[in-house]
């Protein structure tokens, strides 16, 4: 009798542990985004990584943090819109890589100047497997920039960014317009060439 009670307690305790563990895993999009932003800020603030001679090391660390959170393939796909479908898997892969380099490069260049920023997190909107995380960056110069991240949860509550909206300006929809215009007047190969020249 006592052993049964004991067994039940053990099973219950194990269940509780499991539940709390899975709850811990199911961190929401804001927490995950916060982790990434804090990670990047800590790299930018790390005094051992400051200066132009440490640029490569610093950028590699930022790139790693961004790469884990940003879904560049999804961004590239959405930016190309209907034209994505017409591309072969190899072309898609190439395009996504180019696009990732472009965004990473411009993003890193911009944030490198900001290290003493305050980031304020607003409320989060979730619908099905998508969520919007609103943030506000307050710079030491006194400017306030609203940055909204749109995230997609494909599996295991792992949220990844598929669009960034800065002051109401969506990165993806702007690139979609740009790519659309370019493709309506010139070929896909030319667009890829243009992107390549931007990246290098």
């Amino acid at each position: 009798m006592t052993s049964l009670k004991f067994k039940t307690t053990v099973v219950l305790a194990a269940l509780c542990l499991l539940l709390s563990a899975s709850n811990g895993l199911a961190a929401n999009a804001t927490d995950q985004m916060k982790g990434t932003i804090e990670n990047i800020l800590s790299v930018l603030q790390d005094s051992s990584l400051k200066g132009s001679d440490k640029q490569e090391e610093r950028r590699a660390k930022i790139r790693e943090a961004i790469g884990k959170r940003f879904d560049f393939t999804e961004m590239a796909k959405r930016s190309l819109g209907k034209h994505w479908k017409k591309r072969s898997p190899a072309e898609r892969k190439e395009f996504a890589e180019l696009f990732a380099d472009l965004i990473e490069g411009s993003y890193i260049e911009k944030i490198e100047n900001y290290s003493d920023e305050k980031v304020i997190y607003g409320n989060e909107q979730v619908k099905n497997n998508k969520s919007k995380v609103k943030t506000k960056i307050i710079s030491s110069k006194g400017t306030e920039i609203s940055v909204q991240y749109k995230l997609l949860n494909r599996s295991n509550d792992y949220w990844r960014v598929y669009d960034i909206v800065v002051e109401g300006v969506s990165l993806v929809s702007n690139y979609r317009t740009q790519f659309g215009k370019s493709l309506s007047s010139s070929s896909y190969a030319e667009l890829v060439d243009k992107l390549r020249s931007k990246v290098n």
């Binding site: 411009s106 006194g142 317009t177």
Partner: protein, 283 residues
Amino acid sequence: MDVKRLLAISALAIALLIIGAQELFAAGSKLTIDEIRTSIEANADGASEAAADEASGEPSEDSYDDDFNDEFDDEFAEEIKSIWDPIEPVNRAMFVFNDKMYFWVIKPAARGYNFVVPEKGRVAVDRFFTNLTTPVRFVNSILQLKLGKAGSEVVRFVINSTVGVLGFMDPARDRWNIYLHDEDLGQTFGRYGSGPGFYLVLPLLGPSSVRDGVGMAGDLFLKPTTYIFADDHLAALGVTAYENFNSVSLKIGLYEGLKKDAIDPYSYIRDSYHQYRENKVKE
């Protein structure tokens, strides 16, 4: 005085006409991806795409195919955002002019200025002018019935003009977390349903629209500098030029970054401006 008033009224009337004329366009451009898809499905022939094109500039470029659309159909579906640009050749010419002015004149001058005046000083000057234009933000908040924002503008003005030493510092924000609310007449017009009219690139001032340009002119009546230098137009112009130059000196590198990201800088900046302003109106 009467002539001035007549000019102002006729300018406003023309602007309203233009804004009215583009309502059609605005209705077209607000088509969501869904609506376009439905219209394409309804008229399975190629003519429908042409019709959609006509209605809103060039949505067929931006709209997804059916399959693609189905995959992402939800409330996150983005609206197609573009602004009417009937005078694109003129705007493009002005864009090139501004671009050259920036790289050849303003940027070198700002470099020298930045060398002489440290960033802290320039930030203080920027704050001083920002504090001075409180009436613009206050009146437009009132006009849009945003009384909370109007109130916080008054509190900011009182704190920053006194504790903040004539507005050179921003203790209202730094110590009391009272933030600035950027409101102007262009946003007020937008709030009451006015579309942007069409896209305008102003000399030196850059991206604007009929609505925002008229708003900017109207806001001049709420700027203290207009009255302080009422009899000396050259001095008023000089002060405004300095205000803008100082503000630009704090943003060197921003335009270069935008240009670098874009495939076609002109349309990239135009679309960004439009989205930025529409977002401001919504806020």
